[in-house]
Chain length 190, copies 2
């Protein structure tokens, strides 16, 4: 058994991707008056992320995070408990002010991810959502205090879990961002 904690949902039990997940209800960690957010779309690009901005549960070195179209996200209950963590960030992470869970994070400014919202699918009441497919911003876990001398073990464990480790996003997403930038600069046809 590995001593490297990736995320509780991944370390001890692997969830299963359902055939026809098309959204569900995200719920924060509050026992009373939890925030509830509904999505009406399947996840895209679900992955584990080592950055210092994403919400992670206790014991996790990585978050689990995916995107859905912002137009398919609605706050159902207790929206008054939500506040934006950092209004200057690309991702406007709306966190529950009481329990701290990030419930949805739209990208509103001009960017290749504009129109998408970042969510943490582990907060779904439902199962069957697409499982994470890669690991992003792996080196960044050091910025949360992770011991740099254990990074080889982290990357080995991620590969063992079929979560290919990257220190930025996956090649497909990096190419997507670069293509958007090239079109905006006019070096590729729009």
């Amino acid at each position: 058994m590995s001593v490297i904690a990736i995320h509780p949902l991944i370390d001890t039990q692997r969830q299963v991707t359902g055939a026809a997940f098309s959204g569900g209800t995200l719920i924060c960690a509050c026992v009373e008056k939890p925030v509830k957010v509904r999505t009406r779309h399947d996840l895209a690009h679900n992955h584990v992320c080592g950055c210092t901005q994403c919400w992670k549960p206790a014991g996790a070195n990585f978050s689990i995070v995916a995107v859905v179209p912002t137009k398919d996200v609605d706050v159902l209950e207790n929206s008054d408990k939500l506040a934006v963590v950092d209004p200057s960030a690309l991702i406007l992470r709306h966190a529950c002010k009481e329990c701290g869970v990030h419930m949805h994070g739209p990208v509103e400014r001009e960017h290749p991810f504009q129109g998408l919202s970042f969510i943490h699918p582990e907060r779904f009441q439902e199962s069957g959502w697409a499982q994470p497919g890669f690991a992003a911003f792996v080196s960044s876990i050091i910025e949360s205090g992770f011991d740099p001398s254990n990074m080889d073990a982290v990357r080995s464990r991620l590969k063992e879990l079929n979560l290919e480790p990257y220190d930025c996003l996956s090649p497909g997403l990096m190419d997507y961002i670069a293509t958007w930038t090239a079109k905006k600069k006019g070096v590729l046809p729009a």
Copy 2:
């Protein structure tokens, strides 16, 4: 034979790393009064780079770039032909105003790379310098107009050349930067 051009020095002929390279003289492309820069130290972290900032020769999608300690770099001749490309950039690329070749690029501001200078070892008059060991900022070649649909072929070719492709820097360098940041933030002991 691959149709994917990485860099002329790599596509057609592979140079050899010498046992005891300890610096040499970099020369720009001017026939008259070339700029000459001397280094008195072996290269570190030599790699090919797809970013849009580094100087690349004609026909190259990637630059070849490495670092040496700034204290071991001296401009020997025709320093009046040098100008900094972008004074706001992390790397202060000193380019020849006539031929455009970047001759040395010190990092002066507070950063994990402070005290290092970026150079293009293909400009050495001498041979034997350490050969490139990986490929950085691969997706960025799209930002120079490279066809995004050929990126799989680029990454395959780089792997074939033992230049593991990354869309940022190599894991070792990314961990180094993250460790510096963690120490600066105080989450790891300095």
